[in-house]
């Protein structure tokens, strides 16, 4: 544990570098979120209230995050990198933290485009929603990374992650749409801690 932050940084850097070279995940997340918001514009009747539009923003964000999370462990799976990572002399939870940070970076990058797009397409945006999105990102990435690692072990892979993750995301949507920042912070604290502690077991016997 002596060099935990350095291990985490190295692992996160590896994922970001991979993405920088391959450019696979982030462009698809960006396209997806803008396309989804466009669909929502046409799905909503004219003159819909802010509250309804805000609900759609949250569904767009959850599905975009899901897209990123599904891709998160693709390299590990296709090139059996999990074995290498587990053999590496790092604490197992550092693998989780590094991956969660990388996923968070992709998600935040997608939101930097998605939130202004939402503000332009619909009725603008208030600071509370932005704060709620930021808090929700932490919860989404911590739980999503853990469940992503579970899902790649299964046969159904891409199919499995949404099934595992969406019920966990319901409280996030409730907290986000209602703007309950303290609730989102509580969710983040509980589930980040739990995911951090549990990750070791998920990759222990792969």
């Amino acid at each position: 544990m002596n060099n935990y932050p350095a291990d985490v940084a190295a692992l996160a850097r590896k994922d970001l570098l991979l993405e920088l070279r391959a450019k696979e995940t982030l462009p698809s997340m960006l396209l997806f979120v803008v396309a989804t918001l466009t669909i929502f514009h046409f799905a909503l009747p004219r003159g819909t209230s802010d509250v309804a539009a805000r609900g759609l923003l949250w569904s767009a964000l959850i599905f975009t995050a899901l897209l990123g999370l599904t891709r998160a462990f693709v390299a590990e799976r296709e090139q059996s990198m999990f074995d290498a990572l587990i053999l590496a002399p790092v604490d197992r939870s550092a693998i989780w933290l590094g991956k969660a940070i990388a996923v968070l970076a992709f998600l935040v990058a997608a939101e930097v485009v998605a939130l202004p797009a939402f503000a332009a397409f619909f009725h603008g945006l208030d600071g509370r929603t932005v704060a709620a999105v930021a808090l929700a990102d932490l919860g989404i990435c911590s739980v999503g990374t853990l469940f992503g690692a579970m899902a790649v072990a299964g046969r159904a892979r891409e199919l499995l992650l949404p099934l595992l993750f969406l019920p966990m995301a319901i409280p996030i949507v409730v907290g986000g749409v209602g703007g309950y920042l303290w609730f989102l912070a509580l969710y983040d604290a509980i589930f980040a801690l739990l995911s951090w502690a549990a990750f070791e077991y998920v990759v222990a016997e792969v």
């Binding site: 739980v143 853990l146 579970m150 899902a151 072990a153 299964g154 046969r155 159904a156 499995l160 099934l163 595992l164 969406l166 019920p167 966990m168 319901i170 409280p171 409730v174 907290g175 749409v177 209602g178 309950y180 609730f183 509580l186 969710y187 509980i190 589930f191 739990l194 549990a198 077991y201 998920v202 222990a204 016997e205 792969v206």
Partner: protein, 222 residues
């Protein structure tokens, strides 16, 4: 043999509970006969919480001790919990139709909580059956079951935040809002339902263990 005794006791208790619910408990002045579904609906719901809690407890036991039997016990408890949960949704829906005139009400926190949990625990089976049996699967299922136990209070809080009240709140800080006869009936029904869980749990566990030993024997013979 313990199982037949347990099953017999459960049958007796269930008969008593049904008789009490239909003939002993007073008819509700407001809702009439339909209120009697309360004596099944609420015990079903509480039992399914007990199942999920027991499953999470066994999952924790698995992660600590690595005993294979704890994994199986956790799975069986969650399996029973999903069955009781499905019955809770069904009875709740019937009651809602009769007493509020709708099959489903988003304003009703318990129903929504059950839907969330039901979705979550159905995914547990998808996870379990898409991974090859072995310690990796047991680990992941245990972690998932633990997440479920934490998700219950978190979702409950979330749903409380998101809705308005129309659910009758029978238990509040002043104790149960029931007459003595109603409360007695309720307790017997709850005991019967928990007994049913214990019996079904024991039966399924025995069956699954038999399956396991049979498979081992087959392997040995091959």
């Amino acid at each position: 043999m313990k199982l037949p005794a347990l099953a017999a006791a459960c049958t007796g208790l269930f008969g008593l509970a049904t008789a009490l619910a239909f003939f002993y408990a007073p008819t509700d002045a407001d809702q009439g006969l339909s209120q009697r579904i309360f004596y099944f609906h609420v015990p079903l719901a509480l039992t399914s919480y007990v199942c999920f809690g027991w499953g999470a407890w066994k999952a924790l036991g698995y992660l600590r001790t690595r005993r294979e039997s704890a994994d199986l016990e956790s799975y069986v408890a969650i399996h029973q919990g999903v069955i009781f949960g499905a019955l809770t949704l069904l009875t709740g829906s019937i009651w809602a139709r009769i007493s509020w005139g709708v099959w489903w009400s988003w304003n009703e926190d318990q129903l929504v909580l059950f839907l969330v949990l039901f979705l979550f625990y159905c995914a547990y089976f998808m996870l379990r059956f898409s991974i090859e049996p072995g310690p990796a699967r047991a680990n992941m299922c245990a972690v998932y079951a633990l997440f479920g136990a934490v998700l219950i209070p978190v979702s409950f809080l979330a749903i409380r935040l998101s809705k308005r009240f129309i659910h009758p709140v029978v238990f509040n800080s002043h104790g149960p809002q029931m007459t003595g006869a109603q409360f007695l009936t309720f307790c017997v029904c709850l005991a019967a339902m928990l007994g049913l869980f214990a019996t079904l749990y024991a039966i399924e566990l025995a069956g699954k263990r038999l399956d396991g030993s049979l498979r081992e024997l087959k392997e040995l013979l091959r």
